[in-house]
């Protein structure tokens, strides 16, 4: 636990220093920079990307997986396949893929070519939020898959520039994990270009700490 929190903090600080940018969705506006940093019981990751258009983003992704003891670093590409805009909602379908290298930490094994593919979907109004993400990894010496879904509600509606607060529930499924399915209640704070999520998973007694900033 201490190891995870320490690494997460280190990654967060590293991200803040290394890149002046961030986001919630994996694609930003044309010319927009985003840094997304995640920590939970399974992994810690940082993803810094740039969007040339409102439908694409490309950047670096690095993940330390605590469940299966590997470290992946690669280039990630995200594509907004389809967006549905209505007068009071927005829904998105994304494809994500990354190619790079992975190494199992803790032994002298060789670094291997690695990558992942994934899909993401979300639907959001100013009051409600629902999302799903699924990923499949091949890190050479190991294969891994995970999926997660979220539902959230905003207890109040703020104007642009106000502090926005969301109460969310995340269900994460990872067949290879010691506890395959876990539920994490979390709170999301959203202010200006910053987004912060803090949660706790009772089954594994792990904290969740996610941070996003977008320029």
């Amino acid at each position: 636990m201490q190891r995870i929190l320490f690494a997460g903090l280190a990654l967060a600080i590293g991200g803040a220093i290394s890149s002046p940018s961030a986001e919630a969705r994996p694609v930003s506006y044309p010319g927009g920079w985003t840094v997304m940093q995640q920590n939970n019981g399974d992994f810690s990751s940082i993803h810094a990307h740039w969007s040339p258009t409102a439908k694409d983003s490309i950047g670096l992704y690095s993940e330390r997986n605590w469940q299966t003891d590997w470290h992946f670093t690669g280039i990630q590409y995200n594509r907004l396949v389809k967006r549905w805009n209505t007068s009071n909602s927005q829904a998105n379908l994304y494809l994500k893929t990354a190619l790079g290298q992975a190494d199992p930490f803790g032994d002298e094994a060789e670094t291997e070519a690695a990558g992942f593919i994934g899909i993401g979907a979300d639907w959001e109004t100013r009051r409600w939020f629902v999302s799903y993400e699924g990923r499949a990894y091949d890190v050479g010496f190991s294969q891994d898959a995970r999926q997660s879904a979220r539902i959230g509600v905003a207890p109040y509606l703020g104007d642009y520039g106000d502090l926005h607060t969301w109460l969310m529930l995340e269900v994460q499924n990872r067949p290879e994990a010691e506890t395959p399915t876990v539920v994490t209640p979390l709170v999301r704070f959203f202010y200006d270009v910053q987004l912060l999520e803090i949660g706790y998973t009772p089954e594994t007694e792990e904290f969740l700490l996610n941070w996003i900033v977008r320029y």
């Binding site: 506006y29 044309p30 010319g31 549905w84 805009n85 959001e124 642009y160 200006d192």
Partner: protein
């Protein structure tokens, strides 16, 4: 008493002067300094990241002076620079470039 009268005259002249100058503006000068506010009704704009995208994209446009987003109404309020123009087609392109869908455009010149 005489001092009071002179002061009152001076104050009246001072207050009246800007009005007098304003009255001297020609119609072409008025048109050149008039500012247009464009209100774009947009679908899909539900969060601050959406609003920020719109603000950034419109803010890079030469004709744009200020941008304000009203999430409650789903509207973008753009004030153009004096004498500048932004066509409806261009507004639609910028909304699309931001990732959203344009519903309607209204204009008001002050």
């Amino acid at each position: 008493m005489k001092h009071h009268s002179i002061a009152a005259l001076a104050l009246a002249f001072t207050l009246a002067t800007p009005v007098a100058f304003a009255d001297q503006d020609t119609p072409s000068e008025t048109a050149a300094t008039a500012q247009t506010m464009v209100t774009a009704k947009v679908n899909g704009m539900v969060c601050d990241f959406c609003a920020r995208a719109v603000t950034k994209v419109f803010g890079k446009e030469e004709a744009v002076d200020t941008v304000h987003v009203d999430l409650d109404r789903g509207e973008i309020h753009v004030t153009l620079k004096a004498g500048a123009d932004l066509s409806d087609d261009r507004v639609g392109e910028l909304v699309k470039k931001s990732g959203y869908d344009l519903v309607s455009v209204e204009r008001e010149t002050a």
